[in-house]
């Protein structure tokens, strides 16, 4: 950072320490101890070929999940940008719910809604006398749950692109005699393509390493690399096979992440000169009717899982009355009589979330400001996207041992880092270069430029980055379960424990608290700024 060497060096050291100690070291330990010490190359190939069907399964599953998410997400983005309708703000705010929905709770609420005896099947049976439709068991269940989680990502990426469309080009084309289809394929599509591709690649990566959903709905019939890594290490006690598969998965996803990095930095940000008119939604035309139906289904898809949780949290099915007894049970009538563990779980969660959000945002800020070594930064960012929770978790276990809350916090920071980086980097890229140059010409040093020119313009992004990292940490269960020693029971762990004592009502109550906190976080970002939370 030029003239402010002290500041620059400290920043560089912090970033380096973060990357080397909390990312590179644990993975090196994992792969060194389990692969390089015990394995020759032919055995390595043998393990891969014996598990090649799992690699294919992961690709296939992630591909279909991404396709379905795009199928829902793109029309949703289109309507969100081009149509004016009642409840648009609510729909926008609700689209953050999947981000903060812990996967163990998604599984149970999907059973309540889409199960063979769930709401939808009961409705179909009582109204039309239909036999049940098997929504959730097997491959289709995985796809359905992944669509729920991921279509909002596509929606946010693409709606941003729709908003930035250069309308003048479109109008020129129409004037020159192009028909609607030609305009769409030649003008609109190329403009939204980089956003759509980067969204789709990110969704692909998530679905590829999805764990709880595949484990729960895939049953015995359908397994993927990530699930097999867990089974090999945790069940068969076969660390070599588990680590080889982890390494293979890491390399596959690293390549995808690099492509993602390329597309997402290519995302075109135009300064809008012409605004396309936002049309009012008219439900009485055929097209309008289809659009309204789509929006209602979309709303139901996001809202029903939450509704099922709220009902279980507040409703006593035996007396058919609303009650706070589940909350009372959590906070007032536990074994200690003080509600200590429920409160301490909120405490642990908040501590982890604040800590990891601070670390992720600070390191992302440093990384985003580094102009040189962009290759190293790009590699690091791509690696942190490509690392799965199981791989990171086992690496941490071998590298640091377990039972340390701070270490778990750094782990969460690694998981949140690529998001924080993207958010801040995007915002930084939007600052007019001229503005900075003028400041330099007028004699400002780097620190002054940072403080007076750049910082005010990325303030919102910092805020968003903190909120996003916060929510990621709050909902995370896998890493905590591997490393917490049963001591630092965070909110998701608490929910998990309540589920295993089959107290669904109390689990739902805790889930509602957890989702409310993260949701408020996002809502605050949405409300206090016009900043789109785009990763």
């Amino acid at each position: 950072m030029g003239k402010n060497n002290g500041f620059g060096i400290i920043a560089k050291i912090i970033l380096l320490l973060f990357g080397v100690v909390f990312f590179f070291y644990p993975l090196a330990v994992l792969f060194f101890r389990t692969i390089f010490l015990t394995l020759n190359f032919s055995l390595f190939l043998e393990i891969i070929s014996a598990n090649s069907h799992l690699i294919w399964n992961s690709f296939y599953q992630a591909g279909v999940s991404t396709f379905v998410s795009v199928l829902i997400g793109v029309p949703a983005a289109y309507l969100l940008v081009k149509r004016d309708f009642f409840g648009k703000k609510i729909l926008k705010a609700f689209s953050y719910i999947p981000f903060v929905f812990p996967s163990i709770l998604v599984v149970i609420s999907f059973v309540i809604i889409f199960g063979n005896n769930g709401w939808i099947n009961s409705f179909l049976k009582s109204s039309f006398g239909l036999g049940h439709i098997q929504f959730i068991y097997g491959f289709q269940g995985i796809i359905l749950a992944h669509a729920f989680y991921n279509f909002p990502i596509i929606m946010h990426f693409v709606s941003n692109a729709f908003e930035n469309l250069d309308v003048s080009m479109k109008e020129a084309a129409r004037t020159l005699g192009a028909n609607k289809l030609q305009v769409f394929f030649k003008i609109t599509l190329p403009q939204i393509m980089p956003s759509l591709l980067s969204g789709a690649l990110l969704v692909f990566i998530y679905c590829f390493m999805s764990f709880a959903i595949v484990l729960s709905f895939g049953g015995v019939q359908f397994s993927t690399l990530e699930v097999e890594i867990y089974k090999q290490i945790s069940r068969n006690l076969n660390f070599t096979v588990g680590s080889v598969l982890a390494l293979v998965q890491f390399f596959i996803l690293f390549v995808v992440a690099v492509i993602f990095h390329y597309f997402s930095s290519k995302k075109i940000i135009t300064t809008k000169k012409y605004f396309e008119k936002v049309k009012k939604l008219n439900p009485f035309s055929i097209r309008g009717f289809i659009e309204v139906s789509f929006l209602i289904l979309l709303f139901a898809f996001i809202f029903l899982p939450l509704l099922s949780l709220i009902l279980f949290a507040f409703f006593d099915f035996s007396t058919m009355q609303f009650t706070f007894s589940s909350f009372e049970k959590i906070f007032l009538s536990d074994q200690s009589g003080l509600g200590l563990s429920a409160i301490s779980s909120i405490g642990y969660s908040l501590f982890l979330a604040f800590f990891s959000a601070a670390v992720a945002t600070l390191t992302a800020l440093i990384a985003a400001f580094r102009k040189n070594q962009s290759f190293i930064i790009a590699t690091f960012v791509s690696s942190t996207i490509a690392i799965s929770i199981m791989t990171l978790g086992f690496g941490y276990y071998l590298g640091f041992g377990s039972g340390n809350l701070i270490i778990i916090g750094f782990g969460h920071a690694i998981l949140a880092f690529p998001f924080a980086y993207r958010i801040i980097k995007n915002s930084l890229n939007r600052i007019d270069v001229e503005c900075i140059e003028v400041a330099h010409t007028l004699g400002a040093n780097n620190f002054q430029v940072f403080k007076f020119v750049q910082l005010p313009r990325i303030k919102k992004a910092i805020f968003v980055s903190i909120a996003f990292s916060f929510a990621i940490s709050l909902a995370e269960l896998g890493l905590v379960l591997l490393l917490y020693d049963g001591v630092f029971a965070t909110m998701p762990v608490y929910v998990y424990r309540l589920l295993s004592t089959f107290d669904l009502h109390a689990a739902a109550a805790m889930g509602v608290i957890l989702i409310s906190i993260s949701f408020l976080c996002f809502y605050a970002v949405e409300y206090f700024s016009d900043f789109e939370v785009v990763v």
């Binding site: 500041f7 050291i13 484990l215 049953g219 945790s234 006690l237 660390f239 276990y397």
Partner: protein, 337 residues
């Protein structure tokens, strides 16, 4: 300001790296998650033991039973645990094979009935036991369960929820149970016929229990001692454990001392304590299993438990030898067609 931040950062980092010193009077126990949760057995008995031994006990959860064993193997060069709780009779031979446990027979082993002392090699001490059973909602299922073949009834088509033998101990228990009823290779025919009745195979027992509780399934693989839970905590007395005339497969949970412990005497004291009434009387309502100490009187809700007339068990050597083959045969049947 910058200095403060960097000092803070480095000190946090150092704090994170400092390993906790092993204390002479500290007993570290690894176990599965439900044991340490506030509703579990751990909190009820650990403080009692701490008073008795005048020591400090760290009861740490490592996830489920499989992960407990994983942790022990990962730490074999510098073991942190002194005692492991929760290895059951079907996992015990695998555990002994790791060579990471020490032999120990408690002085008060006479408390445990002869038929429950399953580890003849003298590593593992049993502390509770139970039987696998199918638990069903008798208001929704009008079916008279007589024996294993009742599971093949067409009324159950696509309705039964079970667990995966590779990832869950009841799941493995059911597979072994089917082998002990139908023999090898007869069990394969049973599974082929039973398959259409299976709604889903869950990873763990708790997911199955959840599906049952929300009314998604009227019958799931659980324990003979699950009905007491519903009777005691939910006031439901129509969830019943089906009684099979062939008998029910036995599960025994046990504990052992980890090889290389520096607190061998304390570990011995703890295992002996686990057989005493103070510890054993907490088992029914936390573990929902039977205590091995027969002088403990069972609570009233245990009248709803199924007390099998015949108990089934395969020899642990046979299980060790055949388990992998049986599981992969089972997987083949489940995945095919």
């Amino acid at each position: 300001m910058k200095k403060i931040i960097s000092i803070l950062f480095i000190s946090i980092f150092l704090f994170g790296c400092v390993q906790q010193e092993q204390n002479e009077n500290n007993l570290t126990i690894y176990t599965y998650d439900s044991m340490v949760s506030e509703y579990g057995l751990g909190p009820k008995v650990i403080s009692k033991f701490e008073e008795q031994c005048n020591c400090k006990v760290n009861l740490l959860s490592k996830g489920d039973t499989g992960q407990v064993l994983t942790a022990i193997i990962l730490e074999k060069d510098s073991p942190k645990a002194d005692v492991v709780i929760g290895i059951d009779n079907s996992l015990v031979s695998n555990a002994i094979d790791t060579g990471l446990f020490e032999k120990f027979t408690p002085k008060n082993i006479e408390i445990v009935p002869e038929n429950l002392r399953f580890d003849k090699e003298g590593y593992f001490t049993p502390f509770d036991y139970g039987f696998f059973a199918f638990v069903y909602d008798s208001k929704k299922l009008d079916l008279d369960f007589k024996n294993f073949n009742s599971l093949l009834d067409s009324k159950l088509r696509n309705r039964v929820v079970i667990q995966n033998p590779r990832t869950s101990s009841p799941g493995l228990g059911l597979l072994l149970w089917s082998v002990s009823v139908y023999g090898d290779p007869g069990y394969k025919d049973f599974w082929k016929e039973f398959k259409p009745n299976i709604l889903t195979v869950t990873t763990g027992w708790d997911e199955s229990a959840g599906l049952f509780r929300v009314g998604e399934t009227p019958i799931y693989l659980s324990y003979a001692t699950s009905p007491p839970y519903y009777a005691e905590f939910e006031d439901i007395n129509y969830f019943i454990a089906a009684n099979f005339s062939e008998g029910h497969y036995l599960q025994i949970e046990s504990m052992a001392i980890v090889k290389g412990t520096k607190n061998r005497l304390l570990a011995e004291e703890f295992i002996e304590f686990s057989l005493e009434k103070e510890f054993q009387k907490e088992i029914p309502f936390t573990q929902f299993m039977f205590p091995v100490n027969q002088s403990v009187s069972l609570p009233d809700a245990f009248d709803y438990a199924l007390h099998p007339t015949k108990q089934l068990e395969l020899s642990s050597n046979l299980v060790k030898e055949k388990q992998e083959e049986w599981i992969s045969e089972w997987e083949k049947i489940m995945v095919s067609g």
